[in-house]
């Protein structure tokens, strides 16, 4: 049961926010992340696949969790946006094959509070709401909803005099998931992503005339920690490390990351996640890709 709860915990903190950060500050593009929620509002569409072996064994235990997630982001103003998300989960259960079902519906609102173009610095405030009872219990969806205040930071190193290290950037994510009712536990989530942008190297530091597709790649590593707070109901802390690479096309990105559980409570083997991100504001910049209220 504990393992199952932890799988759901990862689902809440990770799979519930696979839409990554595709956000720019000045000449810095923060590519879409796959484990951490996105950095800022935007008109985007994310299609995410996520598979992680779990440590459950024996009859009734979940040995592998697979998630397909769709996230739609829509800006209300230039700094304010909402996100709607649906995840379809398949849990491989010992003795019962694979159980499929929807996770709870989630929606979030994000406000881009600070965007310092010169210093490639972003701060965003978010509030996520999961509606309890809208998903399938057989795949771990809780009957209890939860509300999650979130805080995001993004910082590119391009304004520092550090030569070839200027393409580095880091994004951070902190959140507290507050359950509506017991026995669902409250969870603190913290994560960060470190990335080295080859496009930034080519366009801001030195052009090495790198061949495609290398010149469009951004190696990235994401790390996510979750810890129960208050009464844990058998939950334990988790830590997930996800190294990978993101390819940036014109108006789209595709990324793949391995998922390396750092604790047995997190998982039991190497998982994988992949994501296609479509920038609706690039392809439909005059229609559905622009804020509902914007000037000009």
């Amino acid at each position: 049961m504990a393992v199952r709860c932890l799988a759901v915990a990862i689902g809440i903190a990770g799979a519930s926010g696979p839409a990554g950060a595709y956000t720019a500050s000045g000449d810095r593009n923060f590519p879409a992340t796959l484990i951490l929620p996105q950095l800022a509002p935007g008109d985007e569409l994310y299609l995410n696949y996520n598979m992680l072996p779990l440590s459950g064994s024996g009859a009734g235990a979940v040995s592998r969790s697979t998630n397909f997630t769709v996230v739609y982001g829509k800006t209300i103003t230039d700094n304010l946006g909402i996100f709607l998300e649906e995840t379809y989960t398949g849990d491989a259960v010992g003795g019962a094959g694979t159980l499929w079902g929807w996770q709870n519906q989630t929606a979030s609102i994000k406000y881009l509070a600070v965007n310092n173009l010169d210093h490639e610095f972003i701060m965003t405030l978010g509030l996520d709401r999961e509606t309890g009872g809208t998903g399938a219990v057989r795949v771990g969806a809780s009957s209890s909803g939860a509300t999650t205040p979130q805080l995001y930071f993004g910082k590119g190193m391009g304004d520092l005099d550090i030569g070839y290290l200027r393409p580095f950037a880091i994004t951070t994510f902190s959140a507290v998931t507050l359950a509506d009712t017991a026995p669902r536990r409250d969870v603190v989530s913290n994560g960060f992503a470190v990335e080295y942008s080859i496009p930034y190297l080519q366009s801001k530091v030195r052009s090495f005339d790198l061949p495609a597709p290398i010149d469009h790649l951004t190696p990235i590593t994401e790390v996510l920690f979750t810890s129960p707070v208050g009464r844990s109901y058998g939950s334990r802390s988790t830590a997930l490390i996800a190294p990978g690479v993101s390819y940036a096309g014109e108006g789209w990105e595709f990324a793949v990351e391995a998922q390396l559980p750092a604790t047995r409570a997190t998982g039991n083997g190497i998982g994988v996640t992949a994501q296609l991100h479509i920038a609706l504001d690039f392809f439909f910049s005059d229609t559905i890709g622009k804020p509902l209220f914007s000037n000009p």
Partner: protein, 212 residues
């Protein structure tokens, strides 16, 4: 005798029309005219190094270099209907501006040495080009409303409507910039990936090129 009279008439007619031919050629090279003016803007005709003051209604021609002083602004209406607004401190050369018989643009090539311009490019119903070059890159557009700024060592482009392709002069790599997006290219480097521009960024370039 009749043959001689005819020859005289031909030669005389040709002599009469000949001085008009260069004028017509000059007329064909006219690219547009001044429709808005602020400050002591000037034009260097054909790169002769003798800038002359511009006034409302003056024509600007191919090979002209237009200079806008730090306290000036200038608006041009080109022969194809495109409108080009120049911010203070801008220096622009009209390298080419070919118009067909129906008044539609065939190709336009502008060279922006420094400063900022806004171009509202008239649509045409056939393939044509509209390009602005700077020291570090070239921006080519279709029908669009856009901005390009030549800064020391960099060029920045913002697009209000339509789309622009910004190409690095050094690497030939390019980025496509859709409406509400912008990008820049720095000397010797690839273009920076495009991103959405904030309203404040657009407002800044709009106000700089807004000619009363």
């Amino acid at each position: 005798m009749r043959q001689r009279r005819r020859d005289i008439l031909i030669v005389g007619g040709a002599a009469t029309l000949l001085p008009l031919l260069p004028l017509r050629a000059v007329g064909e090279e006219t690219a547009g005219s001044v429709v808005g003016l602020l400050g002591q803007c000037a034009v260097d005709r054909g790169g002769q190094g003798h800038p002359m003051p511009l006034k409302l209604g003056d024509a600007v021609s191919i090979t002209d270099t237009i200079e806008v002083p730090p306290d000036g602004k200038l608006k041009l209406r080109m022969r194809d209907g495109s409108v080009i607004s120049l911010a203070s401190g801008t220096r622009l050369t009209i390298a080419a501006y070919q118009i067909d018989a129906s008044g539609q643009r065939q190709n336009a090539a502008l060279s922006l040495a420094q400063g900022l311009l806004r171009a509202v490019v008239a649509p045409v119903d056939h393939p044509s080009t509209f390009e602005v070059s700077t020291a570090v890159g070239t921006a080519g557009v279709r029908s669009t409303d856009w901005f390009i700024a030549a800064q020391p060592g960099a060029t920045q482009v913002g697009v209000l409507e339509g789309s622009v392709v910004l190409r690095s002069a050094a690497t030939a790599h390019f980025v496509l910039i859709p409406a509400r997006w912008g990008a820049r290219v720095e000397a010797g480097l690839d273009p920076v990936p495009a991103r959405t521009w904030s309203p404040a960024e657009f407002q800044a370039v709009i106000s700089r090129t807004d000619v009363p």
